[in-house]
Each structure stands twice: as structure tokens, then as C-alpha cells.
């Protein structure tokens, strides 16, 4: 997705990226990055947690107003409200994705 941010920003539309992997986003030299320490598939929080979603949305607004040059990063101090050992599993799909399944098969072979 960073390539889409870059293409669209280059065509004149400012972007802000809310991501679980801000380190990776910075490698793509994006304009404005908001980092959240959340599992994949949960950029704005847990289901029904409107306060958390609003906090992340406000941070995106802050990033849009504060960033004066590309490479801006704002990491949010929000703790994921699910124990790590549960959260580590629960974001993952029920079956390995095709590329992961292929890698596992090669490793076994």
C-alpha cells in the first residue's frame, strides 16, 4: 500500500498513512505516518471501541496539521487491550495464506 500513497501524493493529493508498521512505511519515504502498536487488520482498534477509533482519527488529523515536510512520524501511546498471546494468534487467518503455505511446503520438502 505504500506505493499507492506515493503515487496519489505525487499526483497532488496529500496523504496520511495509519499503520501497524511505521518502520516499514518510513522506508518507503511516505509523507505522514501515524504508527499504532496494534495487530494486522485493526488500524483503528477493537470492534465497537469508538473512543479508541476517535483517538487514532484525531492523531491522523494532528499529523496532517503538524507535518511540514515528508518523513513525519507520529507514534501513538495506545495499548492494545488484548493479551499478547491472544492477539498474536487472533489476527492471523484460519488457514495459512497461499504464499505462506507454499513456503512451509518448500521448507518441509
Amino acid at each position: 500500500m505504500p506505493v499507492l500513497a506515493r503515487v496519489i501524493e505525487t499526483l497532488g493529493i496529500p496523504t496520511v498513512t495509519v499503520t501497524m508498521m511505521p518502520d516499514l512505511a518510513m522506508k518507503f519515504r511516505l509523507s505522514r505516518v501515524v504508527g499504532v502498536e496494534f495487530p494486522f487488520g485493526h488500524n483503528f482498534g477493537t470492534p465497537g471501541n469508538d473512543a479508541m477509533m476517535l483517538a487514532v482519527a484525531r492523531a491522523a488529523c494532528q499529523a496532517l496539521e503538524e507535518a511540514g515536510a515528508p518523513g513525519y512520524r507520529l507514534d501513538l501511546d495506545l495499548e492494545w487491550p488484548v493479551p499478547l498471546e491472544v492477539a498474536y494468534r487472533s489476527w492471523q487467518p484460519p488457514h495459512p495464506s497461499p504464499i505462506v503455505a507454499q513456503m512451509l511446503k518448500r521448507r518441509e520438502g
Partner: protein, 166 residues
């Protein structure tokens, strides 16, 4: 605090992502065209959501046959979307939470609240969904979907795009 980008990932994925080199291209930058309180904002997710009754799923069958390929197309999601309207075709993440509440990846309620309080000008009427797992070259997104979405945003006088890679 500094976010640990890999906190919830298996060690093999952490190592793979940490090894990704920084790109050797200039940074992307477009300034805000006006104060945020007057800007229209659109949202984009790569969670692979689509409208179950009116849109085609992303092509997971081809991905199963060609594991290095990912469907590069996008779906337009209206602002009026409800969680009950949404299905998901993404083979790399669990669907449970985002089907329970689509706002975890497409936060229409939060940005509607910011619109109501005047923090932003408005939330756009249409938003965008893609499936985040892609061919490594990303040529379609670079040459087709990226410019197409940018054109749609301009046609609709959208000032800012928020991206939420799932």
C-alpha cells in the same frame, strides 16, 4: 513511545520485514491545500472488504493457484456502509473483527464525529477498498489503480486521502 512495528508478528515475518531496504526515490509530498477544518477527507483500506450484495469479491481463487499474485483491483465503499453490508476476501488476515465492526479498518463513525465537531471540513461520500497482498512489482497499483483513484478523488474535490494498510 516508539511503536514496535513487529510486536504481533511471527519471528520469520519480522525478519523478512526488517530486511526490506529503504527505497532509493525522492520522498512523496503534497502540502495541505487549505486548513484541515475545510478539507474533505476520503478513506482507503487494504483489508479486502467489498459490498456483499453488489460487488465481486477480490480474486482469491487465482491467488490460490498463483501464490505470488494478488488481485490489484479496488472497490468503492459508500460512506453509508454498515458492517452488515460488508464481506471480506483477504487470505492473510482474520476477518472476524472487521466483519463485526468494519470501522476497525474504515473508520466512518470517527471521521463523521470529527466532521460534526468541525475538526475536518467533511468526510467524502465514497471510500476505497483494496486487497493488500500484491505482486511484488506492484506495477498495476503504480500504473493503473493509483492514477485511477487519484483521478476519482480529484473529480470529487477530495483534498486528503487517509490510507490504512491492513
Amino acid at each position: 513511545m516508539t511503536v514496535d512495528s513487529y510486536k504481533f508478528l511471527p519471528r520469520s515475518m519480522r525478519l523478512a520485514y526488517e530486511a526490506v531496504p529503504a527505497i532509493d526515490e525522492p520522498p512523496a509530498w503534497a502540502p495541505l491545500p487549505k486548513p484541515l477544518r475545510r478539507c474533505t477527507i476520503a478513506l482507503m483500506t487494504s483489508a479486502g472488504i467489498y459490498l456483499r450484495d453488489s460487488q465481486e469479491p477480490f480474486d482469491t481463487e487465482r491467488e490460490k493457484q498463483e501464490p505470488a499474485w494478488g488481485d490489484p483491483t479496488f472497490r468503492v465503499i459508500p460512506r453509508s456502509v454498515r458492517s452488515a453490508d460488508v464481506a471480506c476476501s483477504h487470505l492473510h488476515i482474520s476477518h472476524d473483527d472487521l466483519l463485526q465492526d468494519v470501522d476497525v479498518v474504515l473508520p466512518v463513525r470517527a471521521f463523521s464525529a470529527l466532521e460534526a465537531e468541525g475538526r475536518i471540513g467533511s468526510l467524502a461520500d465514497e471510500h476505497y477498498s483494496l486487497m493488500g497482498y500484491q505482486d511484488r512489482r506492484l506495477e498495476d497499483w503504480r500504473n493503473v489503480q493509483g492514477p485511477e483513484i487519484a483521478a476519482r478523488l480529484k473529480e470529487r474535490a477530495v483534498d486528503v486521502l487517509l490510507l490504512a494498510p491492513a
